[in-house]
Symmetry: C2
Subunit: 258 residues, 2 copies
């Protein structure tokens, strides 16, 4: 293997530094990379262990988000070149603010939804998954509507976990589609309805993985269901997201701002 080992060293979960490393490495598309995250590296001893591991690895590339400048110094003193988020970004922000960054600022910022909000939102998404408990739809921030396997459940769960949003989801069954319009219990909440759709080919592939060679997974059936659902969406002017080429993050980001 002659690729790079991209280390993400963090004194916390590593989510931020991983995300930066992935974005930046995507700008070097011809490099082969594997990602190794070292989270909770929050003491001199743990940094030394990380250093040992990095020095034992051929072609390492080290990203870090170590709040404590002393810990960053341990990496530097070992001769390891590090791309540290705080070294690279915080000084510029401090200069603009006319303030010096406080390494002890820690990870508790008031800008993330808190644990309870997110857990409540997860419970809400589970309780209102797949058309359950429609009498509670009025409590939803968003109601995701679409045919089976269009990605409603994972999207609702991601909105809950990432943003603390309460998203219900409602499946349009072949029965619903034959009724010729969205069920009345949905149209009562029009401003919060969001349609999800995708290409018939992609839907057939997703269904095929679950129920091979079924009518449910046939391209014809997928086309029929998607066509009817999209007509309903258009009739009511719903914001619609085509998830064919999207990741869960992308779908959620679109919905959050829709």
């Amino acid at each position: 293997m002659n690729g790079y080992s991209v280390f993400c060293v963090s004194d916390h979960t590593g989510v931020t530094v991983e995300s930066v490393a992935k974005s930046v490495m995507a700008q070097f598309p011809r490099l082969e990379c594997s990602l190794i995250t070292l989270p909770f590296v929050d003491s001199v001893d743990k940094v030394r262990q990380a250093v040992g591991r990095i020095l034992d690895t051929p072609r390492p590339l080290v990203f870090s988000s170590l709040t404590d400048p002393q810990l960053r110094a341990v990496l530097r003193d070992a001769g390891i070149q590090t791309f540290d988020i705080f070294d690279l970004v915080a000084p510029a922000v401090g200069a603009a603010l006319g303030q010096i960054a406080t390494p002890s600022g820690g990870h508790t910022h008031g800008m993330a939804p808190d644990y309870e909000t997110r857990i409540d939102a997860v419970n809400f998404a589970l309780n209102l998954d797949d058309g359950l408990n429609p009498e509670r739809l009025d409590q939803a921030d968003l109601i995701l509507v679409g045919v089976s396997r269009v990605g409603k459940t994972p999207t609702a769960l991601y909105l809950a976990l990432q943003y603390g949003m309460r998203a219900a989801n409602y499946p349009l069954t072949p029965d619903d589609l034959e009724q010729g319009d969205l069920p009345a219990l949905l149209t009562a909440h029009l401003p919060r309805l969001r349609g999800l759709t995708l290409s018939a080919e992609r839907l057939a592939a997703l269904r095929q993985a679950r129920y091979p060679d079924s009518r449910y997974a046939s391209l014809d059936q997928c086309r029929l269901e998607l066509g009817a659902a999209e007509r309903f969406f258009r009739r009511h002017g719903l914001p619609v997201i085509d998830t064919t080429r999207m990741s869960v993050e992308e779908i959620a980001a679109h919905l959050r701002h829709s």
Copy 2:
């Protein structure tokens, strides 16, 4: 309001730049900040709209992750100081690699679990939630064990959505706890069991929110259940995570590396 408006301008979901902005702003703990994310800003027109909004806002602070240098230039030409991840981090990485970053590298990096893997993992977590389908436990990457309301379900879903990991979860009911040991269907999978626990006070508060003034939510009952569960964990040498002061990200990061 004399706080700062922290804008996160992204040509994609904004997840990365938000995460950096939050980490960096946490180092300025005395500043009041509100976060405004502008995702999918991927054309000159959309950058101009963003510029308009930023210029209309008092005390803006602008973080960005705009892959295209031309789009970054539009912000700069409007006289807006921007902390851009690619400007600040990519050049240092490029210098170390002896390569120039390709703005068109895009967002598809091979290092993230793909859509199908994550969706399958979500379905797995839902199918094996709360002790369901125990005959499939051998397919799990991890099996989360703990008393009711300890955070098993959100953690399993987060592991699925973020990392594509297949996590089952199994609740230790008062009945299980009275048996004097972990159920045999769990001990058959010891290497993949992970115990979750938290403080009795915190558990009582979480249960109280759900079933006020119940025996289930009483501090005594919580102490009893947690004590028994922790004895089981110790007896079998399970890795145990105390989630009392942890976010879902932190719990998941610990589990991923446990």
